[in-house]
C-alpha cells in the first residue's frame, strides 16, 4: 500500500483526497483521462468513462501510463479487473483511422482486420462504407465522414480522424495584445488551450464562465488566420463577441458580419445564432446556405453544451473544416456528449473551476440559501394546489419579496441581479424594488441599453428573466439573487453562478443567493441545484429568512 491520495472505486469513480500532500501531483496525472465529476471541499470525485479514456488516448496518453498513474497514486490495491477494463477500453480508440488516401480519397483504415470486419457487419454503419480498397482499407464517401465517426463511437470503436482539414479562405487576423496599465495579454491557460486545440486540429476547450472563452476563440482565429464562422446562442451574445473581437484583434467592424433574425450579413468573420440556423419554414432549414456561403477555415461553437440537435446534423457535414467548441461544462442534460466527441472533437483543454479561481481570474463566490417560511394562507393554497402548479406557487410566494428587498438593501452599492423564471413575479419584484425588468419581450435595443446602463453603474439593480441565462456579459454584477428557476437544472445554475463569477475590478467577494420557500418542492429543487454548487466546491450555507431580515421583525401579513 502506497498511502497515496487516490482511492479507486468499483463503479469506476476515483476519489481524490485534496488535503493529501500528493494530491496536486495526482490531479495532474489523472486529469487527462478522468472527468472531474464533483469537487467539494475534501474529496474530489473523478470518473473513468470510455469517452474520457478516449479523450486521453486522442491526446496521446497510452493505457500503460493511465494504469501506471492509477497504481502510483492509489492508496489501496487496484482491482485487476478494472485495470484490464481500462486497457481494453483505451485500446479501442485508434484501431480504426480515417485518413486521406492519395488515390482513393477518404478511407477507413483498420489496424486490426477483425475490428474492421466487425464494424462493416454492424447495422448502424449500413450504407456508410464504400468498396474495399485492400484487406485493411475501405473507401468512405467524404460526406459520410461525420456520420461515420458518430456511428463508430456508438458501436464502441471510435475512429481517429487523421484526414486533415481544408485551409479555408485565408484572412489576416492577429491579436491586439499590448502592455501598459490598461493593456492585456493572453493568460497562460488561454494560450495553453489554444495550443492544445491547434495541435489536435479540432476539439473542445472547457473553461469556466468568466475565464475568457471569447479570448480563446479570438486567439484560435489568430492562429488559423482564415475566414471564421462563429455560432452563438443568441443575438446579444453575438454582439458581445463582435465587441470583444474588435477590441482584442486586428479585425475591424466591416470585417465582422452578424447573421441573426434581424440582419443577414456574410463577411470574413460571421457570427450566427443557433436560433436562426435552426429556424424552419415548411419543415426545411432555410439558412443552411450559410455553411457553404464562404470557404470557412474555422467554425467556432460557443456554449457547446447548448448546441441544438440540428446543428449536430449540419456539423456532420463540416468535418473537413477546423472546429473549436467552447463551453463551461461538457455535461449535456440530453446526454449527447458522445456526439460532441465524435463531431466537434475530443476535449483538448480543461481547467477546473476552482483552479482557475485560485489563479484569481474569477471572483470567489459565497453561496447562501435563504429559507422563507410561508404564511398560513400561502401554505394552505400550496397544500391544496394541483401538483403541476405547486412549484409556481411556492417559487412565487409573496413572502419572498421582503427577503429579496432585505438582501438588496444589505448589498447597497453593489451591482445586483435578481433572477427569476415567472414574469408576473418579476414584474412585482420590479415594482417592489423599483428596478427595471428585462424579459423575453424586451427588444434587443432596450436590452443593450439596460445592460449598458447597468454596466455603467447607472442602474444598481436589474431584474432579469430566463433570457439572462445565456452568454450575456455583466462584468460588475457582484450579487445574484435567484427567486425561481427552471426546476432543478444544473446547467442553469452553472450559468447563473457564472453571472457573478466574472472578475471584479476590485477583487470583491461575489454573493449568490437563492430564496426558497420552506417545506415545499422549492426546497427540493434548490437542494438539487445546491448539490451542483457544492460539487463544484462552493461551500454554501442555509439561513432562515428571519436572520436576513433581522430586527425589527416584520409581520408577513404587513407585506400584502
Amino acid at each position: 500500500m502506497t498511502g497515496g491520495p487516490l482511492i479507486v472505486q468499483s463503479d469506476k469513480t476515483l476519489l481524490l483526497e485534496v488535503d493529501h500532500v500528493d494530491a496536486q501531483a495526482c490531479r495532474m496525472a489523472i486529469a487527462p483521462f478522468a472527468e472531474l465529476e464533483r469537487s467539494p471541499e475534501h474529496v474530489h470525485t473523478y470518473r473513468l468513462t470510455p469517452l474520457g479514456l478516449w479523450n486521453a488516448r486522442a491526446a496521446g496518453h497510452d493505457a500503460e501510463s493511465v494504469v501506471d498513474s492509477l497504481l502510483r497514486f492509489s492508496r489501496y490495491p487496484v482491482p485487476h479487473g478494472l485495470l484490464v477494463d481500462v486497457a481494453e477500453t483505451m485500446d479501442r480508440y485508434g484501431r480504426l483511422t480515417l485518413a486521406n488516401d492519395p488515390a482513393h480519397g477518404l478511407v477507413l483504415h483498420g489496424k486490426d482486420r477483425a475490428v474492421l470486419v466487425e464494424v462493416t457487419r454492424s447495422k448502424k454503419l449500413a450504407g456508410m462504407l464504400g468498396a474495399w480498397v485492400d484487406a485493411d482499407t475501405i473507401m468512405v464517401h467524404g460526406s459520410e465522414r461525420g456520420r461515420l465517426k458518430q456511428a463508430l463511437l456508438k458501436v464502441g470503436w471510435p475512429a481517429e480522424d487523421l484526414a486533415g482539414y481544408v485551409d479555408g479562405e485565408s484572412h489576416p487576423i492577429d491579436l491586439a495584445e499590448h502592455g501598459g496599465e490598461h493593456g492585456w495579454r493572453l493568460r497562460a491557460y488561454q494560450r495553453e488551450a489554444v495550443e492544445h486545440f491547434w495541435a489536435g486540429g479540432s476539439g473542445v476547450v472547457v473553461l469556466p464562465c468568466g475565464a475568457g472563452k471569447t479570448l480563446v476563440g479570438a486567439a484560435a482565429m489568430a492562429v488559423v488566420k482564415a475566414t471564421t464562422l462563429i455560432l452563438v446562442t443568441n443575438t446579444v451574445a453575438g454582439r458581445q463577441w463582435k465587441r470583444e473581437l474588435i477590441e482584442r484583434t486586428t479585425l475591424t467592424e466591416d470585417e465582422i458580419g452578424e447573421y441573426s433574425g434581424e440582419r443577414k450579413e456574410i463577411r470574413p468573420v460571421t457570427i450566427a445564432t443557433y436560433q436562426v440556423l435552426t429556424a424552419r419554414r415548411g419543415g426545411v432549414f432555410t439558412h443552411l446556405d450559410l455553411f457553404g456561403a464562404r470557404d470557412w477555415g474555422l467554425v467556432i461553437y460557443d456554449e457547446v453544451h447548448l448546441l441544438p440537435a440540428p446543428i449536430f446534423r449540419f456539423t456532420a457535414d463540416l468535418q473537413a473544416r477546423r472546429r473549436l467548441g467552447l463551453t463551461a461544462t461538457l455535461v449535456r442534460e440530453d446526454g449527447r456528449e458522445g456526439d460532441v466527441f465524435s463531431l466537434i472533437g475530443p476535449k483538448r483543454y480543461d481547467a477546473p473551476w476552482k483552479d482557475v479561481e485560485a489563479q484569481g481570474w474569477i471572483a470567489p463566490a459565497v453561496c447562501t440559501e435563504v429559507r422563507v417560511t410561508l404564511t398560513d394562507a400561502e401554505r394552505m393554497s400550496y397544500a391544496t394546489a394541483e401538483t403541476e402548479d405547486r412549484y409556481r406557487l411556492a417559487a412565487t410566494a409573496r413572502t419572498k419579496l421582503p427577503v429579496v428587498k432585505a438582501l438588496v438593501d444589505r448589498h447597497a452599492g453593489d451591482q445586483i441581479l435578481v433572477i427569476g423564471a415567472y414574469l408576473n413575479q418579476l414584474e412585482t419584484l420590479g415594482e417592489y424594488l423599483n428596478a427595471p425588468v428585462l424579459q423575453g419581450s424586451t427588444t434587443n435595443k432596450e436590452r443593450e441599453r439596460l445592460f449598458d446602463a447597468f454596466r455603467a453603474g447607472e442602474i444598481a439593480t436589474l431584474v432579469i428573466s430566463r433570457v439572462g441565462n445565456f452568454s450575456i456579459d455583466l462584468p460588475e454584477a457582484a450579487v445574484a439573487i435567484q427567486v425561481s428557476g427552471t426546476f432543478g437544472s444544473r446547467q442553469e445554475e452553472a450559468q447563473r453562478l457564472g453571472r457573478v463569477l466574472r472578475p471584479k475590478a476590485d477583487g470583491r467577494q461575489a454573493h449568490f443567493y437563492s430564496v426558497v420557500a420552506r417545506d415545499t418542492i422549492d426546497v427540493e429543487y434548490a437542494a438539487h441545484r445546491q448539490r451542483f454548487l457544492a460539487e463544484q466546491g462552493y461551500a454554501y450555507t442555509i439561513v432562515d429568512a428571519d436572520d436576513v431580515i433581522g430586527p425589527p421583525l416584520p409581520a408577513p401579513d404587513s407585506v400584502d
Binding site: 467539494p40 474529496v43 489501496y76 485487476h80 457544492a534 461551500a539
Partner: protein, 821 residues
Amino acid sequence: MPTTLTEHLRALTNEALADLLRHRPDLVVPVPADTEALAARAQARASVGRALDELDEFTLAALDGVRLTSADDGRTSLDAVRALAPEHADALGGALTRLRELFLVYGPDIELRLAGGVADVTSAYPAGLGRPAAALNAAVATVCAEPARLRRELLATPAPARAVLDRLAAGPPVGLVSGSPDGQPERRAAGRRGRTGGPEPDSPVRWLVERHLLAPMNAPGPSGVPTPRSDDRYEAVELPRELGLLLRRESGPLGALRPYAPTVTADARKLTAVDSAGAGQAMEAVRQAEALLSELANEPAALLRSGGVGVVGLRRLARAIGAPEPTAALLVEVAHAAGLAAESDVPGDRTAGAPTLFLLPTPAYDVWRALPLGRRWADLARAWWSMTRQPGLTLERDDHGRPVNVLSEGVERSSAPAVRRAALATLGALPAGVGPAADELLALLAWRRPRRFAGRADAFADAIADAAKLGVTGFNALTSYGRLLLADDDTSDADPLGVTTTGGASADPLAAAIAPLLPAPVDHVLLQADLTLVVPGPAAPELTAELELVAEHESGGGANVYRITDATVRRALDAGYTTADLHELFAKRSRTPVPQSLTYLIDDLGRRHGGLRAGPAGAYLRSDDEALLSQALLDKRLSSLGLRRLAPTVLVTAQHSGRLAHALREAGYAPIAEDASGVAVPHTARARRAVGPAGPVRTAAPTMPALTAPLLAGIVEQIRRGDAQSLARRAPAALRAAQGRGDSGPTAVQAHADAMAVLQQAVRDRSHVWVGYVDAHGATLSRLVRPVSMGAGYLRAEDERTETLHTFALHRITAAVVETP
C-alpha cells in the same frame, strides 16, 4: 529372463518397488495382496489411464513410439524408439526413462515391452498413423508393399487428392466420406447417419480409393475403429500406415515433436505488483459477494423447479452488484459452496405457481460479515478451490438448447477441482511474477497434460478466468498468497468439516498471507458540503452499521461513499435517533468539520419530525359531545376497555369495535357502530435467513495418502509377504480367502477391484482363472474358466470342462485368482 510384468516386479529391489509406488500412489489404495495383484492393478485400465493423464505431450509421443516400433511379439528396443526421431533422440531417451519409472514400459533396453492396458486406454492409432495396409485391404497392401511404386503413385497424385492425403497424414488417419463436391473427407463428425453412403463421383477421395491409396471402411463404431468394406458404398477411409510414414518423411514417423514445453513470452512483473493487483481484485470480489448476499437478504432469489436461479434472477443480482452476469454466477456458486447462501422455504406467498424455494443468506453469513477482510476472502477462495462446479457453464446452452442456470445440475463438474489445481500448478511452476496471457497458458497446459486437457479447454479457460476474478491471480500471474491454495489440501484431513474456516479462531494461513496486502478498517469519515460522506477505506463493521441507517450507500470499492438525504435523516429519526444524537454522531465520526448545510438539514427535519403521529388502535369512539366522551372515559364499568383520549372528540381503545360497542351497550350507552377503514397494522421487517449447513460445503477431494518412506517400506514388505503366502497356497484356497471365508482376507471392495484387474489381465493372457461369484440366490460359488471378453458390465468366459460359454455380471464377481498350474 523375466517376461511378464509380474516377474519383472518380483525381481525388483525393495527400493525400486517403493519408487514405483511413489510414482503411482493409486496402486496402494488398497494395498495389493501380492506382486501378482500389484502387477494386475498396474496394468488395469483405470490405473494406466491415471498414470497417462499426468504425462506431457512429448512423453506420450515417446509412448506412441514404443507402440509403433513394437514387433508382433510386443518387444522393441530403446534404439528403435530413439531412431524414430534422431534429432530428439536424447529427449526420447529421457521420456522413456520416465515411462519405465512408471512401468508403463518395462524390460531391458534391448527388449522393451509395453505394459498391458496401455493399448486399451490410448488411441487405436498410435502417433495418428493408420493400421498397416495388410490389416486393411489386400489391394492396398499390394500397392504399399512396393515402396518405389508407392512413391510413384504419390507423385502422380493430383493436388486436391494430395491435400486429402496430407490432412489424413497429420492424423487422425480416418476420415468420414462427405458428400460435399470438393471431396474433402470430413473429420469424425457426428450426425452422418442415415446417408446412403459412398462419395460423390469424381471426388478426390474416390480417386484415391480407386488407386488403392486409401482403404475404404465402414463408419467407425463406438470403439472408434472402423472395419474394412469392400464395395463402393464405404462411409469412411483410412490411410494405411506405410503411406502415412511416407507422407511424414519430413517430420519423422511421430510427426512434429515438441520435446519442450511451449515458451511463455510474458515478462515477469514484480511479485509485489502481482500481489497488489490480486489483492485489489480480492477486495473487489469480497465486496461483490457481500453486495450479492445483502441483495439476497433484501429480496431472495426464487429457485426454478428445474433447479437453479433463472436468467432473470441472475440478471437482477448482477445489476445489484454492478458486475457482468458471469461474475455474478461465479459469486453465487462460491457463496453457495461456502455455505453463505442456501436454498430455503420462504413463508409468505402460497399462491399456486409461486416458487416455493428461495436462495437466502445463511446464519453463517452474519458471522462471515463480521470477519476481517482477509478471512472473508480466504473463505470464498477455499470454497471456490474445492467446489465441484464450473460456473462458466452458466448461460451456455445445454444439449437441449436450454440455458444452463446457475446453481443447477448443469453446472456440476466433478473434475473442476482437479482442473483448477492443474491450471494453477502449471502457472505456479513458471517463475514468480510471470503472467502469461490466457491462450499461452492454455497452450502450455495442453502440452503438459494433453490427456486431461483434451475436450476440457473451456473448463481450463474458465478456471483461469475465475482465478483472476477472485484475485487468486494478478496480472495473470499466481499471487504469493494464491500459491498457498496449492498447498492447502493437507488441511482437509485435519479439518474435514471446515470448522476453522468459518468460526474458529485458529490462524488461517491463507487469510494471514493476504491480510497485510489489504487495507486496515477505517473508523472515521470525511463529511462534505454536498452532503456526501466518504469512508476512506474499508469501514469497520460498527461504523457500517451506523452509516447504513443515516445515509445511503452510493459507491463502494477502495472506499465507501454515502449520501445523506432528507430521507436518510428521517429514517434515522424514525429509528429513535434524536437530532442531538445525529449531531454527535457526525461530529464524532467526521475528521472534517460538519458542514453548516448538514447541521441545518438535521435541525430542519428534526423540527418537522413527529408533526404527524401514527399508532395502533382497535376501535375508536367519537362524539361531538365532549362531555359525553369524558363520561365514557371516566366510567368505571368501561375501564377494562382501556379507553384513551386522542382529541377532545375522539377516544380509542385497543379492543375491537364489536367488543367496544357491546361494552358500551352493557353500560347503558347507545353507540352506533361504524365501518372501520384503513387501520394501519404495524409491520416490522425481519431479516430472513436460511437454515443451511453449519459450515461451508466442502467436497473432500479423493486424496492419496502421503507416501512416506516408512509407510512405503511397510507396503512393500506386505506385498512380499503376500507373494510368499500365495506361493504356499493353492488357488481355490486363495479364492476362498478372497471371498472372505478364509482368515484375514482382503475387504470385499478391495477384492472386487483386484478381481477386475486380474480378469483384465487374464483376458489379455487368455489364461485360466478361478472366479468366485454370487449367484441369483445369493449363494457364493466358484468356477474355473478362461475369460474371453469383458465389457458392458459382463464377463464372458469359457468353461473348458463343460465347453459352455458363461456370462457373469461383473458386480456379482467377488474374487478372481489366476490358476497356478
